[in-house]
């Protein structure tokens, strides 16, 4: 499993921001979902606070599509803005998952 070092990601890393700023290929840890229904629904999908997702597509002006486990989930832009995430670096969350 290849680790990609921080230095190789060409832009400023975001330590705490909204999912709406996600770019394709980036990995995030979900920090908080500021919407009662969406928080519960995301939790059911497996995208709970504390879990890791990968941004697979960013539809211009539209939803952010993330991969949570093997599940693709489309998140409307407005909702994505209310989801606080912390950027992770590829590979880390897998190691963590294996030891949890």
């Amino acid at each position: 499993m290849a680790h990609i070092e921080d230095a190789t990601s060409g832009h400023v890393t975001c330590e705490s921001c909204s999912l709406a700023s996600a770019r394709k290929g980036e990995h995030f840890e979900i920090m908080a979902v500021d919407d009662d229904f969406a928080r519960i629904q995301a939790l059911r999908f497996g995208m709970s606070e504390g879990s890791c997702v990968e941004c697979v597509t960013r539809i211009p002006a539209g939803p952010i599509v993330v991969m949570s486990g093997r599940q693709e989930i489309a998140v409307g832009r407005g909702l994505a803005e209310r989801i606080q995430v912390r950027k992770r670096h590829h590979g880390h969350h897998r190691d963590e998952h294996a030891t949890s």
């Binding site: 989930i73 998140v75 409307g76």
Partner: protein, 628 residues
């Protein structure tokens, strides 16, 4: 634990040879199927009951409940839900059915255990006797997902059966396992509270609902809803992740073709051309091949060439031509002439073609991707991408589309989507008749027709978005795996839909034909034609007889469009007529559903609004098209 692989011959034979002692045989009365959307529940239901029900790859299709029999046992299919609670109608329905069920068969998608086991653990915590069907085992293997079934069975404490429902694999095992259904191992942290609450409300399942803060179940028992939902859910999520960590092994594969295809479908740069390509294919298949070719043969050669002269002769030999009964049976709008001509000659072939294409779309998993692609555009009319589901189903049948608005997140969205469908979305039968008529004109008029409808759709939507109070919800939708639809599934499913649709259409067409004929023989029709002349001739630039079509349009819009068949119209007049009748009042069947789902006030407003919009737009089109 021995498990028979023999098919039970009947319910009596079902549990013989299974002296497990853990289950009271006579206790099995109702089996409830529960699972997330698109996990193959309906196919499993079919395997139990032998009757085919709607199976699709789209979240939210099974709005209605389906009941069947498995020997002497009742089997109930529930709407696909991600959890048991009261967030929407489907969850409320599923919750109540699950609460009353004796045994739950929980169908789990083996490809997405992290998502599906959340519901499983909730059912386990509810203390339901249950069996887990680990479905789509073949797809999981293909995608490199391995699940340790034995270990999962141990961790959950209930039988876990691997199945591939679409091919029937493992279904006999599943049926046999009903006898071994049992209560699983619950999460321990709320055990004490659960036992205490169960003593107050009567059952463990309802106690869990109360603790999770379900307002409806709490009210039923006169207790305060619990406040611990988030904590309970989080711990359940942790337990799901823990179980998955132990039982799931994944051989990570690179981005497969379907992953890339999925992204192409959703990105505007590639997704819009794909969508346009799809629409072009639909136009070629439905508009050219079916409407142009098949309908020509069926309608003109078979129905008008053989059937109508035959009926006219037969009826004419009993009742004199021109008599009241002759007119009703075999006249211009005759029950035996016009009704079967359009039903068999025009509507049947096009509706069949349409539902076949729709089923392919549903089963392929393309629809939710269109939802993601269209999200931004639909926000302009106060909806989110999810609304493409009811809207596209509305193209099949507005009644079905209206029922499916239940999957939308807010009352405001249901309000807007229902209105848009009733006004600007033609149903398949109507498209059938209109395609038949428009096939006579050039492609320009077809394009103008679609363009005007899209304009009205956008304009009405934008206005409603401004006027309707409340807040629309944001898109949050899970995208099912892309699959190649199975031909047998598609054919059986569309067959059932076409059959149900045609039954309803036939009834309304026949009733409408009688009504129009009665108006004709009593002279009322002539009176209406004269009175409406300023509107039809003066404003719309159509022949005076067009009033007949609008009267027919009150019965059904497709029936109304049929009224234009016999008039000799110019291409421009045809366009005006088609647009006006499309925007006209919804058919009686969908009007009933709208009334039931949205109430009188909404219905009256919609009815009046659609007539006003239809005639205003018709007049505008008439002027634009230069008819006058």
């Amino acid at each position: 634990m021995p498990r028979s692989t023999e098919a039970p011959k009947s319910a009596d034979a079902l549990c013989h040879g299974h002296p497990t002692g853990t289950v009271a045989r006579e206790g099995v009365e109702t089996i409830v199927l529960a699972g997330n959307p698109n996990v193959g529940k309906s196919v499993v239901f079919n395997a139990f009951t032998g009757t085919y029900v709607d199976v699709s790859n789209f979240p939210g299709t099974t709005v209605e409940l389906t009941r069947g029999r498995f020997g002497d046992i009742d089997v109930v299919d529930t709407p696909g839900v991600y959890g048991v609670s009261s967030f929407n109608d489907e969850e409320r329905v599923a919750r109540d059915i699950i609460l009353t069920g004796d045994v739950v068969v929980n169908v789990v998608d083996a490809v997405h255990p992290e998502r599906d086991l959340f519901l499983t653990l909730q059912l386990v915590d509810m203390g339901k006797r249950m069996v887990v069907a680990l479905n789509m085992a073949d797809e999981a293997r293909k995608r490199g997902v391995g699940i340790d079934r034995d270990l999962l069975e141990d961790l959950l404490g209930v039988p876990v059966i691997e199945t591939v429902a679409v091919s029937g694999e493992g279904l006999e095992n599943l049926k046999a396992s009903i006898c071994e259904a049992r209560v699983g191992h619950p999460g321990h942290d709320i055990e004490a509270q659960l036992v205490e609450m169960a003593a107050r409300v009567g059952s463990r399942a309802e106690a869990l609902m109360v603790l999770e803060g379900d307002p409806i179940v709490s009210e039923r028992h006169g207790v305060e809803p619990g406040t611990g939902r988030d904590a309970i859910y989080l711990r359940r999520r942790d337990r799901v992740n823990d179980i998955c960590g132990h039982v799931v092994t994944e051989t990570k594969q690179g981005a497969s073709f379907s992953t890339r295809l999925s992204q192409w479908m959703m990105h505007p740069a590639t997704g819009i051309p794909m969508l346009l390509g799809l629409m072009y294919v639909m136009w070629v298949v439905l508009g050219q091949w079916v409407a142009g070719g098949l309908v020509g043969v069926l309608e003109e050669t078979l129905m008008l060439g053989y059937w109508v002269p035959f009926v006219e002769d037969a009826v004419g030999s009993v009742f004199a031509q021109g008599s009241v009964l002759f007119t009703i049976l075999a006249g211009e709008f005759g029950v035996l002439t016009m009704t079967p001509t359009y039903l068999i000659g025009v509507i049947l072939p096009l509706v069949t073609g349409f539902y076949l294409l729709l089923s392919v779309l549903e089963d392929s998993g393309y629809l939710p991707r269109i939802a993601a692609l269209a999200d931004r555009s639909l926000m302009a009319v106060g909806l989110n991408g999810r609304a493409v589901i009811p809207l596209i189903l509305g193209l099949g049948c507005v009644t079905m589309g209206t029922l499916t608005t239940r999957i939308l997140g807010s009352k405001r969205e249901r309000f807007i989507a229902t209105a848009l469908m009733a006004i600007a979305v033609p149903c398949s039968a109507q498209i059938a008749v209109i395609a038949g008529l428009m096939a006579r004109t050039g492609w320009l008029y077809s394009a103008l027709y679609v363009g005007f409808l899209l304009f009205v759709f956008g304009a009405v939507g934008a206005v409603l978005n401004k006027l309707v109070p409340g807040q629309s919800t944001d898109l949050l939708i899970d995208l099912p795996s892309l699959r190649t639809p199975r031909l047998d599934n598609v054919v059986r499913k569309s067959g059932i839909k076409v059959w149900n649709f045609m039954k309803e259409v036939t009834l309304f067409f026949a009733a409408g034909a009688v009504l129009i004929s009665v108006l004709e023989v009593t002279g009322s029709l002539d009176w209406i034609i004269r009175v409406a002349a300023p509107l039809t001739v003066g404003w719309l630039g159509l022949p005076a007889e067009a009033a007949t079509a609008f009267v027919m349009g009150f019965v059904r819009r497709d029936f109304g469009a049929t009224g234009f068949f016999t008039m000799n119209l110019t291409d421009a007049q045809l366009l005006v007529g088609m647009i006006t009748i499309t925007l006209f009042v919804p058919c009686i069947a969908s009007a009933m559903v709208i009334l039931k789902e949205r109430g009188w006030g909404y219905f009256a407003g919609l009815f009046a609004g659609s007539i006003v919009i239809a005639f205003i737009m018709g007049g505008v089109v008439a002027r634009v098209a230069g008819v006058l």
